[in-house]
Symmetry: C2
Subunit: 551 residues, 2 copies
Amino acid sequence: MKITIAQLNPTIGDLRNNAETILTIAIEAANNGTNLLLTPELSLCGYPPRDLLLKPEFIDAMRSELEQLAADFPENLSGLIGFAERNQNAEEKGEKPLYNSIALIQNNQIKQVFHKHLLPTYDVFDEARYFQSGELPNHFKLNGIHIGVTICEDLWNDEEFWGKRAYSMNPIADLTALNVDFTVNLSASPYTIGKQRIRERMLTHTAIRFDQPIIYVNQVGANDDLIFDGGSFVVNRDGILCDRVPQMKAYNHTICWENQRFVSTEPIAPTLDQSAELYAALVLGVQDYARKCGFKQALLGLSGGIDSALVATIAADALGAENILGILMPSPYSSDHSISDAKQLAQNLGIKTQTTPIEPVMKSYDESLAEIFSGTEFGIAEENLQSRIRGTLLMGISNKFNYLLITTGNKSEIAVGYCTLYGDMNGGLAAIADVPKTKVYALCEWLNRTTEVIPSNIITKPPSAELKPGQLDQDSLPDYEILDDILDRIVQNHESPDQIIAAGHDRTIVEKISRLVKIAEFKRRQSAPGLKVTDRAFGTGWRMPIAQRWG
Amino acid sequence: MKITIAQLNPTIGDLRNNAETILTIAIEAANNGTNLLLTPELSLCGYPPRDLLLKPEFIDAMRSELEQLAADFPENLSGLIGFAERNQNAEEKGEKPLYNSIALIQNNQIKQVFHKHLLPTYDVFDEARYFQSGELPNHFKLNGIHIGVTICEDLWNDEEFWGKRAYSMNPIADLTALNVDFTVNLSASPYTIGKQRIRERMLTHTAIRFDQPIIYVNQVGANDDLIFDGGSFVVNRDGILCDRVPQMKAYNHTICWENQRFVSTEPIAPTLDQSAELYAALVLGVQDYARKCGFKQALLGLSGGIDSALVATIAADALGAENILGILMPSPYSSDHSISDAKQLAQNLGIKTQTTPIEPVMKSYDESLAEIFSGTEFGIAEENLQSRIRGTLLMGISNKFNYLLITTGNKSEIAVGYCTLYGDMNGGLAAIADVPKTKVYALCEWLNRTTEVIPSNIITKPPSAELKPGQLDQDSLPDYEILDDILDRIVQNHESPDQIIAAGHDRTIVEKISRLVKIAEFKRRQSAPGLKVTDRAFGTGWRMPIAQRWG
């Protein structure tokens, strides 16, 4: 039997085009003798559809699209297609109105529908908001071969692997009891640093433990803050990984089922090293946000600093250097190297630049505010003003020419509020909002591994916001190695100050950073969507009250 | 038996002070001969604690605080106290790590702990993210009286009342089978327009149906976007409402249980009419956000329009007129009446004003952008620029003097994107973000019911953003009555364009508005928290993708 994995990049809600993409692949696969086509979780509508699921017309249209797809499907091909199915009689039974479902298309009909059982409701996932947990087991036969069906989270509860249970049962146990020949896992699993390795280790463990080959099919492409990295793969029952599809791109790939083993038809795609993978994910994130929102061009402020240098590089790789405009906005506090470094970067990347000094606008604000501000000293208000002038200039250009403004703040500064709301936080997408400063450095070093992309002075000079004379980040923050470790413990590990101090950090610093993280919540609440690359990003999965007194 | 209802206004996470408030009330109640003290859901930490619940130290501290409170509690008083309890062995059983719990304090001990069974996971509620559903039934005996305990949502599943089930079971059915004498419902139920009436009708129905008196205890006070309106009340088994505590304020109140009926010790507080209730809710929302964030003073832009007039009035009532600063920022496109109307409003309210014309800053931006914008026509970019100059001036003053900036956009304009990101959307709190424009008018008419608070010209003149000569809202939008009806159908009822057209609206208008609602999502994602007053507000309960192609 031949099976085709369709590692798809759907656009959320674009039912018609998503279905057409599936159909095109299905026809090609059938022509090549494929028996079964596999698509990711919710492949018709894209993952995550979020509150579009609350619209009855959307659910109806998805059903119609599925029926049309079944009617158009190649006659000899079976397919597993992801969609959201209405839970009939939900209001009588007191259940959620939908299932997260997979339809089995066979002989131009919707032959069976399988429902996801384990519904992730943590971090960025809200599945219990929409979906009812389905009955188990999910399985079917094709040409005498018995196939188990699991949907994403259904295979993320191997208590032997994790050392704990997240749900009371593990759906693959039932499938094993039924003696299925193999199990497919149709997923939409977002990228985080190191996650592909975890997926492969986990499913290798599960395959061996349950003596079952597993085909893992993942969605690819970015939807708002979430980047799906693909990396679909196949593990045989002995735990040997026999197939892997490349990460970060839409890809169709056929494997063969022979003598109770999967055999690949192509070499196994290599995994990427951490920096290469992270960089590729960020490029995909920018590319898809722009494309799916209808932008062809983007702009950003180039300060001469390392954050905007990295984001410019990502943007140029995502949309083409010719589509990126860098705006230089020096102030009287800008150092000479800010301009020269930014220009050198733009030259290295081949992006256009425009220079607009902000001093005249600063002066006009100073005059307008002179009366109200009289008798006060230069401070945060004046520093923020510079940042807001830059943010306003950038948005003016964005509005005028319909360029996507990409904001350049990193996770460390967003965590401690070292950023200006309505200033440098302006933009449609925050490309590196989940990349800590130390990883910003690591990515730039990696970019320069063969030739100098990021001018070395940008990497080596001490970081500064340049909002007052001689200002340096480290005047008010600890070294970034220390800061990022403390932040990781606060944000990701939920450690208490006492625990962090016990790990060797200075009490004064820990207490200061904890306080800064807390009081910056109001800024983060209004930040642009940021591409999630860690297990705990600010954004849709970070739900912290603002008006609160804890910690 | 005497029972005291403590309608509390906790600050999220302020465990120490919340516990002290409870203790103070407990001591007073005990001195007055009370036997049982009732507090709202999660009264120790305040509702909703959201992701603070993910911090183990927070859960530990809450337990310690509860134990201390039990030790300090008056000896002869029993109390029901809300807290989040750790679910022991959750990782073995594959369950969520916490329960949403009520502790029964008796004889200075934590005598029993009850767990919420029905966990709301829709709209702004994310309880399945944190909590495991508890076992039922929850009940205890006090002085021979048998009392059932339910927690908020536990009583929101009367399928006879709703005509449908939201959950498979109704916890009060079990309590009835156990023959409890009465049931308490300890809640944190956020205000929406008309909700108090629904609560009273619902629990009246439930009381009669299950032949059970019910004491309903609600939290009061605002936490970020959610306003809790209190309005705790008591229904006897015949459905007679025998007691109601005032809405919108912290209040302690004692009732007597005699001969299987509740008897009040005070007159029943009246309900408010819709405008009075909505206005009081908005005042509470602004007041608590400011207080709980540590602001004593607030500022806002006064355009001379109706939105800023309403918000200024709310702010003055919330924080005191002497603590409100209105900023007038006329442009060359401002009409004369804008200034005079704004000044008249300020005089009526007794708030301070400052006037800062924006033309000089406009000119400096125009010069800075002249080269980049050369050959283009005046358009959205230039209109937004004016709004962003105002937003930047307001934030400058906010930063300089630590005033809370309150933003003034209404729901209708936020829905269609008739607002400027990083401009008039700037602010820490969006006071009327969930109030449709037609209700803005209604509230202003109501405010003027005896004396003219809002200058009548502000109400009667045609609304305009005044960003270009002669501009009126209705040049680009339908009349607000039509717009608000269409928006209500789209946003609240999830109706399709075809359904809305079938209801009598013009196809061209419906399609335009649908499209505007969709493409404004990127703005709403970055908006300040807005006080929720309808069943479907933009904000924490609105989770719509940005990069999507549906509708």
